[in-house]
């Protein structure tokens, strides 16, 4: 493919197409709408389907329904719509139906400032719905990564039968950058695990050697039941503790046992960095800038970029914390991932650099934190 200048949001759309997405349901909202707009144009070309639903609740519902029907499905939204989607994020987690949700973060709370950027939904992406369940959340740093991580999001969602959130932001979503899209046929695509037993034997929620049971699509001969009540291996409602406990354990295990696969970080560390910047999303751009400047000034500083925000890179940050004396966490919010860094690395080591007014954290702010010993 040729070199192009492209917005992050558009790259998400192409990532979806490359991953095999065939369904998009959404409701327009700034600053995510370009994703819907490009897919309304591109999906029919590949035989996919686009629908604008009556609201965000219905949008995610339709995506889950389409996924059950066998189509890889995407929705995209921003803060207010993301809040409305919380109930169905939990539904997808509970019923283990693959679906990808993009949240292009804008300045909140509430209506806030629709055209301004933010990283204010980091904690919400993990904890926004009621009850306990694991969640995979990816966050791109560039337009190219918007493409790559969208593909990853689909792959994780199919591989682990789980909703996956792509948490991007207004800066990355609206920014134009040079990108050379790969040949889509060369992109690694994970398809959901099909069952190989006859219908009478099929257990939609169990009986698999791995923690991820094969998923049959509706209409393909495997008639089964889906419910977000606690259910047994056949999918039927249950109140038996000996059926509830294994479900909870398995659903956590399927993520926890695969942290190596799921947790994506970029480390730019040298052996005894006393100062390390832990960063993600748009702020990582400023952080890189600051780190390069600091290094030009011969300040030793390391950097860890989290591409997977959740599950949190506990091991990686623990490791960094062993040698680092100061960990700088710049965020376009009032300190969210910093909470986890503090938890894992110790509160006294963490230096928060926050800006929550819609503007990017500047390299200067981070540089000052790096050099302020």
């Amino acid at each position: 493919m040729t070199v192009r200048l492209m917005q992050g949001n558009e790259a998400v759309g192409w990532g979806a197409i490359a991953a095999g997405c065939k369904f998009f349901a959404g409701y327009p909202i700034t600053p995510s709408t370009e994703i819907a707009e490009m897919l309304s144009r591109e999906l029919p070309k590949v035989g996919g389907k686009f629908i604008q639903m009556e609201d965000e609740i219905a949008s995610l519902a339709a995506c889950i329904g389409a996924s059950v029907g066998g189509l890889k499905s995407l929705t995209a939204t921003s803060g207010p719509g993301f809040s409305l989607m919380q109930e169905h994020i939990g539904y997808a987690a509970m019923t283990e139906i693959p679906v990808v949700i993009v949240d292009v973060q804008r300045l909140g709370p509430s209506t806030g400032q629709p055209t301004s950027a933010s990283q204010g939904d980091v904690m919400q992406s993990r904890w926004g719905t009621h009850g306990d369940h694991p969640m995979i959340v990816l966050s791109p740093v560039s337009v190219r990564q918007s493409f790559d991580l969208t593909v990853k999001a689909f792959n994780f969602s199919e591989k682990y039968r789980t909703p996956v959130i792509l948490l991007t932001d207004e800066v990355i979503g609206h920014m134009r950058e040079k990108i050379e899209l790969p040949d889509f046929d060369s992109v690694e695509r994970v398809e959901r695990i099909a069952t190989d037993v006859p219908p009478e034997w099929y257990k939609p929620y169990g009986d698999s050697l791995s923690d991820v049971p094969p998923m049959a699509n509706f209409g393909e001969g495997y008639r089964y039941h889906i419910t977000a009540l606690f259910h047994d291996v056949l999918g039927y409602p249950t109140t038996r503790l000996d059926e509830i406990d294994p479900w909870i354990e398995r659903v956590h295990r399927k993520i926890e046992r695969n942290l190596n696969d799921i947790i994506l970080v970029e480390e730019d560390l040298s052996e005894n960095d006393k100062t390390v910047v832990v960063t993600y999303g748009a702020s990582a751009r400023s952080a890189r800038h600051a780190v390069k400047l600091a290094r030009q000034r011969r300040t030793k500083v390391g950097m860890v970029t989290l591409l997977t925000l959740w599950p949190f890179a506990e091991d990686e940050i623990s490791r960094v914390a062993k040698t680092a004396k100061r960990i700088i966490v710049p965020e376009m919010n009032l300190g969210q991932i910093a909470l986890e860094v503090e938890r894992v690395a110790g509160r006294n080591k963490v230096v928060r650099v926050n800006r929550a007014n819609g503007e990017m954290v500047t390299p200067q702010m981070i540089l000052e934190a790096i050099e302020d010993r």
Binding site: V3, T115, V171, H174, M175, R176, E177, K178, R288, T362
Partner: protein
């Protein structure tokens, strides 16, 4: 902040009113750099406070190497197409930065070194349409700074020109180049 920029980083801000096409100009400039000059470029933008109209601003960062922070930190070049834009952004220009203003729309300039070009009038004269002012502005900017090559901006403008407007836009760009040549090369000092 100090701008010991990596890799010849150039920061350009194009500002004006909604409807003047400054964001499109930013996109074209970034495309010239990224696609035709094979450099790296990022383009960002912001809208005015209200839904429609009001101020509008595009930022383009161009560099040989990777671009980290994608927004203008302190501009090397500011193109101001309205008084409001000039007032608002002139303060965020490097000491030796280049300020280009549309002579007829910007009365007060903060420094005598500002380059005044009757951009909108040149658009009208060269292409018959004042809406090509953004392309004239690109011509002036590139003509004066070489942030991208003339060849690249010519290709980029051509690629973006809607069918039937190619000639018009080409004329506007040339008018910009000509105006720049007249002013004389005056590149901002690079660190």
């Amino acid at each position: 902040m100090a701008t010991k920029n990596h890799d010849n980083r150039m920061e350009i801000r194009l500002a004006g009113e909604g409807g003047q096409g400054m964001i499109l100009a930013g996109i074209i400039l970034a495309e010239a750099a990224a696609i035709y000059d094979n450099k790296n470029a990022t383009q960002t933008q912001s809208y005015g406070p209200e839904a429609r109209g009001g101020a509008s601003k595009a930022e383009v960062v161009i560099a040989q190497g990777e671009i980290d922070h994608p927004e203008v930190i302190i501009a090397d070049v500011l193109v101001a197409m309205s008084q409001e834009a000039c007032d608002k952004y002139a303060g965020n220009l490097k000491k030796d930065g280049l300020l280009i203003v549309d002579q007829e729309r910007v009365g007060r300039v903060p420094s005598s070194r500002a380059i005044k070009v009757p951009i909108t009038r040149l658009a009208q004269e060269s292409s018959g349409k004042s809406i090509t002012a953004n392309v004239v502005a690109l011509g002036v900017l590139v003509g004066l700074t070489d942030v991208v090559s003339r060849q690249a901006i010519i290709q980029a403008v051509a690629a973006r020109a809607p069918k039937g407007t190619e000639e018009m836009n080409k004329a506007a760009l040339s008018a910009g180049f000509a105006a720049a040549d007249l002013v004389g090369k005056k590149r901002p000092h690079k660190a």
